[in-house]
């Protein structure tokens, strides 16, 4: 008995010491409570290990087009799968959504990365007799923002609709200061404006947008330009979240950043967009014509829908499907 104990004791002590050290390591490297992050990272690492060897040459790429709003997404995909930072500028064309669809229908491109087609595009598709093959690849929040000094943090969908139809015109009507609301819009034909109409306003009619007049030394008086969001304290604006982050400061370290509004009390964050509890979500599709037999389409599509493709989408700042 004594012999067994004298043999086991050091072993037990060694195990206890090892566990203690592991605990110390976990504590100091803050690994507790970060299971999700670790899972993400592990998943990403596995993905890289699985298929990082796939590198597509310029010749192996189908002819690609992307809407302007999906530019970072398309760019990230091309850069990662070609391992060439400069190639995306030559192989990728960018245009407004509708124009991209027109190019696809005309056979000028093989694959389009864009939001869903407008009614006008659908009519064109029908008239051409073509059939679109659309696969959802990523999601993004369609966000509303105000100046960070605005005390309003959240709006209901109906309140947004009433602001943009002009029925609510003062911030005090939605719990804010007694100030007129300046509801900035995006320009007609842009992805943002189309999303605003289709996702938010639906059958309601948007009020006329604020206009902007200014004087220029060279051009003289410039009148009636659709005003762009100016982040004044009574302003509200909207756009796709990625675009908002590109164009505006939302970082607290800057003075006067923008503040993203909760909608129906849901923040436009990763989880709420992924599980679609945030109400305004924009989908991005990989679109091709069903009868297009370009030999490189399948390889590219498979690459985008692989685990590695999902990682690229996440890292580009979009929500993977």
């Amino acid at each position: 008995m004594k012999k067994i104990f004298s043999t086991l004791f050091p072993l037990i002590m060694m195990i206890i010491a090892s566990i203690a050290c592991a605990g110390i390591y976990m504590f100091f490297t803050n690994k507790f409570g970060q299971k999700d992050i670790q899972n993400n990272v592990n998943a990403n690492q596995n993905v890289v290990k699985d298929d990082s060897s796939v590198v597509l040459s310029e010749e192996e790429l189908p002819r690609l087009e992307s809407s302007v709003s999906a530019k970072p997404l398309a760019n990230a995909i091309v850069v990662d799968f070609t391992q060439n930072k400069n190639l995306s500028e030559t192989v990728l064309d960018y245009s407004a959504d509708d124009k991209g669809y027109e190019k696809l229908l005309n056979g000028q491109v093989d694959i389009l990365i864009a939001t869903e087609p407008s009614n006008e595009v659908l009519s064109l598709v029908q008239a051409s007799g073509a059939e679109l093959d659309m696969q959802l690849i990523a999601k993004e929040g369609f966000v509303f923002y105000v100046n960070s000094k605005n005390p309003v943090d959240s709006l209901e969908v109906s309140e947004i609709q009433q602001i943009y139809t002009g029925r609510i015109s003062n911030w005090s009507q939605v719990g804010g200061k007694d100030e007129d609301i300046m509801p900035f819009q995006r320009v007609e034909g842009s992805t943002d404006q189309r999303q605003m109409i289709s996702k938010v306003m639906k059958s309601l009619t948007l009020m006329s947008p604020p206009m902007y007049n200014f004087r220029d030394k060279v051009y003289g008086n410039i009148n009636d330009v659709v005003a762009t969001y100016d982040n004044s304290e009574n302003a509200i604006g909207y756009s796709l979240s990625y675009q908002a982050n590109i164009m505006y400061d939302s970082d607290d370290t800057t003075s006067d950043p923008i503040k993203f509004l909760k909608i129906n009390n849901f923040e436009p964050n990763y989880d709420n967009i992924k599980n679609e509890s945030y109400p305004f979500i924009t989908n991005y599709y990989l679109v091709k014509l069903k009868n297009n037999n370009n030999e490189y389409i399948d390889a590219f599509t498979q690459a985008v829908f692989s685990d590695r493709g999902k990682r690229i989408i996440k890292e580009a700042g979009y929500i993977d499907n």
Binding site: F5, T29, E188, D251, T254
Partner: protein
């Protein structure tokens, strides 16, 4: 205890080694933890976008958070510069050569950097592949104040294509400025650039009928592209005047009107140095209100000797070349001294805005090379509320970047009946430096009275504030008083205090 001594030692050594290994791994993990950044990317893409901007200058200096106020003023630098011309790859290059810094090394370094930048542009494939025989380079000083210097480089590639570049320096050490150096540390630069880009690009697409929807889409796309490139650190070319920051990228220009974001503008104060970095002690342009762009002058005086008196005097080359010889500059300098000494009377005035924009022109007359000085003297006075009724109106006009009457004084923004004026023309022989005095014909008796009136100027006796009339010395000055009599009379029917000579 049943554990023998050797086992105890082994366990202690094992534990110590394990602990050391653990600590080493912890230290390594904490210093090389790349996984945390993956989390930021996944959970919070916006924050990674901010970090992409490689222009960010980490400077803990308090001045980086101190913006300007509309009450601030600035001094022009005490450097001088001359424009020179040279050839590079068969392309004509006009560039400024600066001098006047006490450190000859910094002087040389700045001049070298300007030329190196130009040469790099001309040696680039972009230029070689896109230019034709009409190409040229024109580098000009965009601003020269608060111990910083901005040089704008205009490159004409072809008749239809040109691009702007910029090189910008702090003068205390000759190092290059970055875009972020113009702003306070906390400035919402993306907001500022987006709004400015919208305005700049709207102008590109504006027609008499407004902007079509298609063009609006182009504007949005252009802004998106510009901001994406700015965020990834690709927008590095810029120049600035005291009023406008211009950002350049691929032939596009964004103008940022500094006054609109004055609380975030740091460049007026950030690099001002107390040490004497200049050779010359003479200040050419001092205490100028910020966001006021002075005309390109030979000499510049902007002064508020008291709360309700402002003096705005410049001497400028009528042809805008500033290419006067030493002899000519000596005459101009003497003229300046004489002019400035005349201002002592005005400095003691109250409720007066005085401006005198003096143009200098080289001419040939009777076979002689002469310099002609033409004084355009204006003055406005008021009994009370000088600040609101005169000064702020003129200041506002001076700060209006879209008013296009430089180098004319902005005093003309006032109602005509508030402005008195006089004009003087004087000629100097360049060779001898002496003034050319024109013979005045003996007036006819009936014209004599009229001429006396015309050659009479009013000067305020500042000690008792009474108005005295003094006839000009017609042998030295040819004075034509362009002010109508009505302009010299205030609402009480009395003659206003005059400040002309």
């Amino acid at each position: 205890m049943i554990i023998n001594r050797n086992t105890k030692i082994f366990l202690i050594v094992f534990s110590v080694i394990l602990l050391i290994c653990t600590i080493t791994i912890i230290v390594y993990t904490r210093t090389h933890d790349g996984l945390g950044s993956s989390q930021v990317i996944i959970e919070s893409a916006p924050k990674t976008i901010t970090n992409l901007n490689t222009n960010v200058v980490e400077n803990s200096d308090d001045s980086t958070t101190k913006g300007a106020t509309l009450q601030d003023s600035y001094n022009n630098n005490r450097i001088t510069y001359k424009y020179k011309t040279r050839q590079k790859n068969n392309v004509e290059v006009t560039y400024p050569e600066i001098s006047g810094l006490s450190s000859s090394n910094i002087n040389k370094s700045i001049n070298d950097q300007i030329n190196e930048r130009i040469d790099r542009i001309l040696d680039s494939n972009t230029f070689k592949n896109n230019s034709d025989s009409s190409a040229y380079v024109s580098a000009t000083v965009a601003s020269n104040f608060s111990d910083v210097l901005s040089v704008k480089i205009f490159v004409k590639f072809t008749d239809n294509f040109s691009k702007n570049y910029g090189v910008n320096f702090r003068l205390d050490d000759g190092t290059r400025l970055k875009i972020d150096d113009l702003f306070t540390k906390n400035a919402p630069k993306k907001n500022i650039i987006t709004f400015s880009a919208y305005r700049s690009f709207a102008l590109d697409y504006y027609t008499e009928d407004g902007i079509s929807n298609e063009f609006y889409t182009n504007i949005e796309s252009d802004i998106w592209n510009f901001l994406t490139e700015y965020n990834s650190g690709k927008v590095t070319e810029f120049s600035f005047t005291p009023q406008i920051i211009e950002l350049y990228r691929e032939g596009r220009t964004i103008k940022i009107y500094m006054q609109d974001y004055y609380q975030y503008i740091a460049i007026y104060n950030k690099y001002k140095t107390s040490s004497d970095i200049y050779e010359d002690s003479y200040h050419n342009g001092k205490d100028i209100p910020i966001f006021v762009q002075r005309p390109n002058t030979i000499y510049d005086l902007y002064e508020k000797p008291n709360e309700t008196c402002c003096i705005d005097v410049v001497i400028f080359d009528k042809k805008g070349k500033n290419d006067f010889s030493e002899k000519e500059m000596k005459i101009i300098k003497e003229y300046r001294n004489s002019l400035y000494s005349r201002l002592d009377t005005i400095r003691r005035e109250q409720n007066v805005f005085y401006s005198n924009y003096v143009s200098v022109e080289r001419k040939k007359e009777d076979g002689k090379d002469i310099l002609v000085f033409y004084e355009d003297e204006r003055y406005a006075t008021i009994d009370e509320n000088f600040e609101n009724k005169i000064y702020n109106i003129i200041l506002s006009a001076q700060r209006d970047v879209n008013s296009d009457n430089n180098p004319e004084s902005k005093i003309n923004e006032l109602d005509e009946n508030m402005i008195g004026s006089a004009s003087v023309e004087r000629k100097f022989d360049i060779e001898t430096g002496s003034e050319i005095v024109e013979e005045v014909e003996e007036p006819q008796p009936e014209e004599e009275n009229q001429n006396t009136t015309n050659n009479t100027i009013n000067q305020t006796d500042t000690t008792n504030n009474t108005v005295t009339n003094q006839t000009t010395n017609s042998t030295s000055n040819t004075v034509t008083n362009s002010t109508e009599q009505g302009n010299n009379t205030n609402t009480n029917g009395e003659i206003d205090a005059r400040v002309s000579f």
